[in-house]
Amino acid sequence: MKRRNVAVIGCGQTKHSSRRRDVNVAEMVSEAVYNALEDAQVSAREVDAFVVGNMPGFGGVAQPEQWIAESLGAAGKPVLRIATGGTTGGSVGQGGYYVVASGLHDMVVAVAWEKHSDSKEAGATTGLLHVGLGNFFHAAGYGLSLKNLVATSVVGAAAGVAVYQAMFYMHRSGCGIEHFDMVAAKARRNAAKNKYAHLQWPGCTAEDIAKTDIVTYPFRYGHICPASDGASAIVVAEESLARKKAKQPAWFKGLASYTDEENQLQSENFGGVGVTDPSEQRGCWLSAVKAYRMAGIVDPKTEIDVAEIYQPFPSQELFFAERLGLFDEGTAWMALETGETEIEGRMPLDPSGGVNATNAIGSSAMQRILECALQIMGKAEEHQVPKKVRNALAHGWGGVTNYSTVTVLGDTPGR
């Protein structure tokens, strides 16, 4: 059957920083929603439905959309809550597409956020300890080995799995730590051109990053993303509304979210040990294949003009770029040396600075979709890539290394 044409017509974000003490969750999220509505030039009344999401354990509030509904202008409307860990924002953005593509609604707001700083206040919230203990008692109740407690306690520690990924990739491709320095430096430099980004460092060089200490091999302090407070929102509409409201809508052309088996950490049944190389990322590869097929993209190397890759750790920008078909296997790090992935380069990666510079978990994968939309609409201001953007690729990653969201946006709805 013929698919409904659906587009992003407005984007809104908040300034991201370590601690947004000037706002509470309700105020922070509405800031993004109203920025998006203003960008799309639509009123809250015109919005038919909302798709929302964040990581509830990190903010310490369960089902926060119930508490903040009225602030968002969502009261009295259908609200769908989607939460998938690191990919939450990507899943929420894709949810926005499906709500409109289903024909049940014509205009929705998809919004995702995280307010990490709230959960650092001792006693105020539950955070990860709460969810960790839950699994502990569950396992103990069955008389299962308390190895699970160890597993659970590292679920939230992304660095623990990222080092394995990085090592696998280094061995496979021949890239070195100096290339991670280059990715991180590029992220900080690009972020300096993005007024919403968190870690901004104009003119940052690989040498600057190389001066920071190793935290856990092969990562230096300067390689690792910050924990940010922030929110991002998009307004999604069907074709006739999109053409009426936006000069250049950013059309959803292809999307998918394939999952692989969770690895490293064992579930209650001691499953999840089938993946030996966490940089293999079959889910990402399958998602890309489906998204490209939907979008009619045959050669992503030439047809994708810019990509926003989910890279809280610099190694991830490299192997995901390969998994997404933007570079040949084991070659993405070479492109760094020639500047191909810079804002002015042939294949700009993360011109916004990406997750490496700004990581408000729930919001992070949504920001990738949002940044791609900005590039297509020509609204990326200082970090706008200096070429006509026909297709942009937004990627999200999370879970226990097994979740992926891939979204292709374009300047025309057709293939």
Binding site: I68, G76, I82, S257, N269, V400
Partner: protein
């Protein structure tokens, strides 16, 4: 709707207090069961949508460990973090969009893992209500019950009658948790007062349980089964936070029902629906729902229960399965209602079967005092 979509398979667990099974085992069994019921294999699935919450599951990214058990390995999948009816809604949208044809929807909660009433405190406004510490879902429901009772002259006996109807219906349901064939109004009123007027038997039990539903586009549905249950209408709505709304009514349920009725072409719900399955977490919510669903006029809910109109033999049976008072595996509860409604249409409801069901309504809710509601109207081949 852009295309017709049908329910083609389903399965649920034996809901109980403490299942003594891992969540992965429980989820695997219902998903495998639904595939077997539909007569298809995992390879036929285009997408999998699960429903659970991190707080209720007591672990971060709750879907990550059950995804494989639900058959999502190398599939296009996602998770909603609320009642299973919302997962069905999302799966339905994926099929309607034309991007997927066959979807599996899974929902589960093990109430024995995390106390659901304790978790409800974490949905409160963290700056004010949570700090004060007087509210949880039971206290809020008691306030709601009192407001509703005061405006419409509803008595404790009316609430007890709802509990009697549902708990005795549950006795005939092999999957239910709290089964009380011979329960009386006196017994319900004599059960422990949790928060006046809410008694223990007027509140849903905290259950362990899971369920799975498979839906398919018309073309695929006709290949899979000769008894598809069509999704004729769907509506959803969330209202404002408990302090910002009129607790004495279920406005969002009214809006959700209106949307679903319009889509399904239902003008007189009391006459057009043959059976209704509700997610009433508290007895008073069922009476309020009668009114919001348009089964009677505002304030007349008590009459339906007095006259036995909503009894199993009544004109419009509500919760012949026992409803949520019979078993409440939180995130699965609404999706179990969908299964019970589909079973009625297919004539597979065993001891709970109501004669001649062509059209059924299934309701799911989430949040304190039923803050968000989802309504599905289902129909058989003849409707």
């Amino acid at each position: 709707m852009r295309r017709r979509v049908a329910i083609v398979g389903y399965a649920q667990s034996h809901h109980q207090h403490n299942m003594q099974k891992t969540r992965e085992d429980m989820v695997f069994e219902v998903c495998k069961g639904a595939l077997r019921h539909a007569g298809i294999s995992r390879e036929d699935l285009d997408t999998v949508i699960t429903a659970s919450t991190d707080f209720l599951d007591g672990r971060t990214i709750s879907s990550v460990f059950v995804g494989m058990a639900a058959g999502a390995f190398l599939k296009d999948e996602s998770k909603v973090e609320e009642d299973g009816t919302f997962a069905l809604y999302y799966a339905l949208m994926r099929v309607l969009a034309g991007t997927h044809d066959i979807a599996l929807v899974e929902a589960h909660t093990q109430g024995s893992t995390m106390n659901a009433h304790q978790v409800s405190c974490f949905t409160l406004d963290p700056q004010f209500d949570r700090q004060i510490g007087v509210l949880n879902d039971i206290a809020a429901a008691a306030l709601q019950a009192r407001m509703y009772m005061n405006s419409h002259g509803v008595t404790d006996e009316h609430l007890a009658m709802v509990a009697v109807k549902n708990l005795s219906n549950a006795a005939a349901n092999p999957w239910a948790h709290r089964k009380m064939a011979k329960v009386s109004v006196e017994e319900v009123l004599g059960s422990k007062v949790l928060c006046d007027p809410v008694r223990e038997l007027m509140m849903s039990p905290v259950s362990d349980g899971a369920c799975a539903v498979i839906i398919a586009s018309e073309e695929k549905a006709r290949e899979i089964t000769s008894k598809p249950v069509w999704i004729e209408g769907v509506g959803s709505c969330q209202e404002a936070y408990i302090r910002d709304r009129d607790l004495g009514r279920l406005e969002s349920l009214k809006t959700a029902a209106r949307t679903a009725y319009k889509m399904a072409g239902i003008k007189e719900p009391a006459a057009d629906l043959d059976v209704v399955e509700l997610s009433e977490k508290f007895a008073h919510e069922e009476l309020m729902a009668y009114e919001s669903l348009g089964l009677c006029r505002e304030g007349e809910g008590k009459r339906l229960i007095e006259k036995g109109t909503t009894g199993k033999e009544g004109k419009i049976p509500v919760n012949p399965s026992g409803g949520a008072l019979g078993a409440d595996p939180v995130c699965a509860t609404g999706l179990v209602r969908v299964i019970e409604a589909a079973k009625q249409i297919r004539g597979e409801a065993e001891g709970c079967q109501v004669p001649k069901v062509r059209r059924a309504l299934a309701h799911g809710q989430f949040g304190m005092c039923a803050q968000k509601n989802m309504v599905f109207v289902l129909g058989g081949n003849g409707s």
